[in-house]
Structure formats: structure tokens, C-alpha cells
């Protein structure tokens, strides 16, 4: 089965993806600013953007296996966009913490990032994501040639860090984070050959 999407339709589909990613975010902040987001809008925006970033990250990791398996090559044209939205949600998540949770207490912010392992892990993932976001610019990508793919393979590590960050942040409700671990494992499973190849290269030296 081969599904092809005509060139003309791509921009419309892209507009749709923009809308699907931006609308919840605008909605969220509109409700939060007007104090219509439950008892504690701060916790609500932190959770929403955090889980949103993770979901988008996993979706971006699903694209190439889907495109390969079902020959949906047009999907690849959405990958950068979704990856960048994962970054955007992650940025909002981090800024929510700085602006609304610790409320610009930079000393406390830095202390929390370094003293709380789950925040250290989350922040590491975010810093790595910055590198990917910056190198997603077409010009840079062309310049980097083969190195680009090597660099962007750290998405696998980032997603793992984010899942650990989530697991570590909850008080006792670990079932949801465990489901995310399973989804992550499945996504890595699709890349079995690639990962196996790396492993062989690593250990044959």
C-alpha cells in the first residue's frame, strides 16, 4: 500500500499541524492567566506543557518508522516541525517553572536544577534539545552533512531522559510513567537494527 499526498496539499496539512500544536497552548495560557484553570494554574501549566513536550517528542520518533513501514514518505516532511514543537513545549515547561513556580528567584532556580536529580535530568534533556532545535535550520543542516544525522540521533537519549524525568517527578503514581517507558521501548524496538549496528561497532573496537 502506498499513500501519496500531492505536493499542493502539504502546506494545508502543515497549517493543520501548526493549529493542532498551538491551539491547546494558547487555550492553556488564556485560561491560566484568567485563573480559570482549577485551583492551581501553575501546576496545571507545568504538567500540561511537560506531558505535551514528551508526547510530541514520541510522535516525532514515530514518524520515520511509520514512513518506512507503510511507505508514507510525505510524513517525513512533518518531522522537523513536530520536533520543533516538542522543543517549544519543553521551553514553555522550563519557563513555567522559572516564571511561575520559583517566580524569578534565580538562586532557587539554579539550586533546584542542580540539587534535585529529576530536575537535573529534565534540564539536561532540554539543553540537548536546544542543540537539535538550532541545527534544524536548513542552512546549518546542509553544512553539517553526515554529522547532522549523528547529532540528531541524540533524540533517542533525550526521550529517555524525559521519561526518567517524568518517572522521577511523581510521588507514587508510577503507572503512567511506566506506560511511557513502554512506548519509548517500542519506538526503540523499531530501530533495533540501527541500535544493534551501533552496539557492534562499539564493542568490535
Amino acid at each position: 500500500m502506498v499513500i501519496t499526498v500531492s505536493q499542493q496539499r502539504i502546506p494545508y496539512l502543515k497549517a493543520l499541524v501548526h493549529l493542532a500544536a498551538l491551539y491547546p497552548l494558547i487555550n492553556l495560557y488564556y485560561a491560566a492567566i484568567n485563573d480559570r484553570l482549577g485551583g492551581d494554574p501553575v501546576e496545571a501549566v507545568i504538567h500540561f506543557t511537560g506531558i505535551g513536550a514528551l508526547n510530541l517528542l514520541l510522535i516525532s520518533l514515530l514518524i520515520s518508522p511509520l514512513a518506512k513501514r507503510f511507505k508514507l514518505s510525505f510524513l517525513m516532511r512533518f518531522r522537523r516541525m513536530i520536533g520543533l514543537y516538542a522543543f517549544t513545549y519543553g521551553l514553555c515547561h522550563m519557563l513555567n517553572f522559572l516564571f511561575f513556580e520559583v517566580q524569578f528567584d534565580v538562586k532557587l532556580f539554579i539550586k533546584e536544577v542542580f540539587e534535585r536529580p529529576y530536575i537535573t535530568v529534565g534540564m539536561s534533556a532540554f539543553v540537548l534539545l536546544i542543540a537539535l532545535a538550532v541545527t534544524s535550520i536548513t542552512k546549518l543542516r546542509r553544512k553539517m552533512k553526515g554529522k547532522w544525522q549523528t547529532l540528531h540521533n541524540i533524540t533517542y537519549l533525550i526521550a529517555l531522559l524525559v521519561v526518567i524525568h517524568f518517572y522521577w517527578s511523581v510521588k507514587s503514581e508510577i503507572i503512567e510513567p511506566l506506560i511511557y517507558f513502554a512506548m519509548y521501548a517500542a519506538l526503540m524496538g523499531f530501530r533495533y537494527k540501527k541500535l544493534r549496528g551501533w552496539q557492534d561497532k562499539l564493542f568490535s573496537r
Binding site: 493542532a20 491551539y23 491547546p24 487555550n27 492553556l28 495560557y29 485560561a31 491560566a32 492567566i33 484568567n34 485563573d35 480559570r36 484553570l37 482549577g38 485551583g39 492551581d40 494554574p41 501553575v42 501546576e43 496545571a44 501549566v45 500540561f48 506531558i51 505535551g52 508526547n55 510530541l56 511561575f100 513556580e101 520559583v102 517566580q103 528567584d105 532557587l108 539550586k111 533546584e112 540539587e115 534535585r116 536529580p117 529529576y118 522521577w168 517527578s169 510521588k171 507514587s172 503514581e173 508510577i174 503507572i175 503512567e176 506506560i179
Partner: protein, 337 residues
């Protein structure tokens, strides 16, 4: 010189719920009923995309709260009260779901009448309080207390209830009674979190808590049956709950069915779950951090949205040191957190 006295039953200006807030409360809870966990976003569909575990829940009728007669809080309390809508929509009550808005959404059909609160163990006068007894056995009074959650947010709540000490005196503890062991209702039919591990956060139910008997005798320890002038809604621990304002919120056990006087320190739920994170005493202490977050400051939830600058310093014993610090004068509170 004019000495002005006010009647204890007189309502104070600061205890009156703002009309807007009062109306908003129903609005809030209604919306929550419709949208479930992805709540309060005006677009549940789009929220669903990014929150795939959101609980969808059909609307249900609100739990009926009754008006209470009580003696109003005497001393003026300078801090701003948390609006009723927030107190009743932002709850940690895992029996009705782990997310903050779930208890309000999933508990409105909870049955509190009939109820039995059993006082037993090392007492000369074991007794059982039925539903009506909860409101008639003791004089009810209003107490405006700070509530500090271990998650570093706080509220100011106008509780209504009676001193736990009154109940203790009535039960006449024997000389062997050193601790009180509290227990929440175990009813998986009514409490979805007790049926489902995912909804209930993997806690072993029933929820149990404990106090040392001298803590229980402290005049601040309250058995609460209401807030904002009415009986408690289920999400806040209807029909009766403990309120220990100088300890983290998880000590203030909800929907209590048993208080047993015992000789040995009783097990407590969060301590059983993660002893390095939650101690038996759990006194509010800005000097001792939770392993995963700082306890030095807190966000006070009152009015205002996302931009409310509400981070304040946390006080030792949640600001009740004068009344309770003596209970712990010979203890190392870093060790006994």
C-alpha cells in the same frame, strides 16, 4: 474607655465569601464534571491530544452540603483566605484520583450518611459517633488555619469543627494509650482510587495516619466537619477529617472511620510508601528539604491567575511554633522529620 466586645457568633467581614467566588465555584465544578482531568480547558478535544490519559467523566449532580451553626473565629486572621472554589477543586485525595481536580470530579455521589466513626483501643469509654453525632456531640467552632502541602503549596482555610482534645477526653484514654491511629473509609465501590491502581496512585488502602497523644491533645488539633460555613464536600474529606495545621497536609487524614488509641507508634501511609521522603512527624520545617524539592518556601494559593506572585517563605511549624514547638523540644527534627 470603651471596651468593645464582639459576640463569637458574629460573622467577620474577612470570613464572608465573595459573591463572585461563590458563583464561580459552581461554575468551576460544573466544568470539571464535563471535562474530567483535561479540565477547565475550554477545548477538551484538543487537550485530549496532548493528555492521552485524561479521565473523561460525564457530569453528575453536586454533593449536597448543609449549613452549620458554629462559633465564628475570634481573633482576626490577617492573611487572605483561599477562595472556596479553590479549596474545593484542588485536592490531594487519592481515593478519588491522583490529579488535583479528580477528587472534585469523581466524588460528588459519595454517601456520608449513615457514617460511623469508631473510637476504640486503649480507652475506658469506647464510643461510636453516627452521622448526626458528628455535628451535635461537641460545640462547633470556626478555625482559620494555614494548610501547607508537602508539595510546597499552601492555602488558608476557614474550617469548622471541634478540638480533637475534646474527643480524647470523652474517650478517657488509659495509661497505655501513647498514640492515636486514624483510618480512612475503605470502600472501593464508592472510592474509584481504591479500585484502580492507576487512579489511586499505587497506595495501599485504607489510608492510615497517626499522632502522638500529646500532639492530639494540643488545642490546635481539629476534627473538622465543615468549611466556609457548610458541611465538608467529599473532596475535602466529608463527613469528618483531621486537621493538624503545623504538619504537612498528608497528616490531616480525610473521611475518618476509626481512631484507635494504641501503645506503639502506628504505621502511616506515606511513610510506608517512601520512608526517606515522608516521616511520621511531618512537621512543617523549612530547614529540612524533601529529597526532591525545597521546603524553604511555598506558593500561597489565593486569588489571581498565572501571574499571581504568591511565593512566600515557609515558617517553622507552619507559623504555629508558639503553640506546638514545646511538643518537640527534646527531639532532633532533622532526624524525626
Amino acid at each position: 474607655m470603651i471596651i468593645k466586645t464582639t459576640s463569637v457568633s458574629e460573622c467577620k467581614e474577612h470570613t464572608v465569601t465573595d459573591e463572585n467566588v461563590y458563583h464561580q465555584r459552581r461554575e468551576l465544578i460544573k466544568k470539571m464534571g464535563f471535562l474530567g482531568a483535561a479540565s477547565l480547558l475550554s477545548s477538551p478535544a484538543s487537550a485530549g491530544i496532548l493528555d492521552i490519559f485524561g479521565e473523561e467523566k460525564t457530569p453528575e449532580a453536586l454533593f449536597a452540603q448543609n449549613n452549620l451553626s458554629y462559633a465564628a473565629e475570634k481573633g482576626g486572621f490577617a492573611e487572605e483566605l483561599t477562595p472556596e472554589a479553590k479549596i474545593t477543586s484542588h485536592n490531594n485525595f487519592y481515593e478519588f484520583g491522583v490529579e488535583k481536580q479528580q477528587p472534585a470530579a469523581l466524588s460528588q455521589s459519595f454517601k456520608v450518611d449513615p457514617w460511623q466513626l469508631k473510637i476504640s483501643g486503649e480507652v475506658e469509654n469506647p464510643l461510636t459517633l453516627g452521622y448526626d453525632d458528628l455535628y451535635s456531640s461537641f460545640d462547633l467552632e470556626e478555625r482559620i488555619y494555614r494548610l501547607r502541602c508537602v508539595e510546597a503549596w499552601s492555602m488558608v482555610v476557614p474550617w469548622i469543627g471541634f478540638s480533637l482534645a475534646e474527643l480524647v477526653k470523652k474517650a478517657k484514654p488509659t495509661s497505655r494509650a501513647k498514640y492515636l491511629a486514624f483510618e480512612t473509609l475503605y470502600d472501593p465501590v464508592q472510592m474509584p482510587g481504591q479500585r484502580s491502581r492507576r487512579l489511586g496512585g499505587g497506595i495501599d488502602y485504607p489510608y492510615v495516619e497517626g499522632l502522638r497523644i500529646d500532639e492530639a491533645m494540643n488545642p490546635l488539633a481539629l476534627m473538622s466537619v465543615g468549611l466556609y460555613g457548610k458541611t465538608l464536600p467529599p473532596q475535602n474529606g466529608a463527613p469528618i477529617r483531621l486537621v493538624v495545621p503545623w504538619k504537612y497536609g498528608f497528616k490531616s487524614i480525610k473521611s475518618v472511620v476509626g481512631i484507635k488509641f494504641v501503645e506503639k507508634k502506628p504505621p502511616t501511609t506515606w511513610n510506608l510508601l517512601a520512608a526517606n521522603e515522608y516521616g511520621f512527624y511531618a512537621n512543617v520545617n523549612p530547614a529540612v528539604d524533601h529529597p526532591r524539592w525545597s521546603q524553604a518556601s511555598e506558593r500561597r494559593i489565593t486569588t489571581g491567575g498565572l501571574f499571581a506572585q504568591n511565593r512566600i517563605d515557609t515558617l517553622p511549624f507552619n507559623g504555629y511554633g508558639e503553640e506546638v514547638a514545646g511538643l518537640y523540644s527534646d527531639m532532633n527534627l532533622r532526624k524525626y522529620y
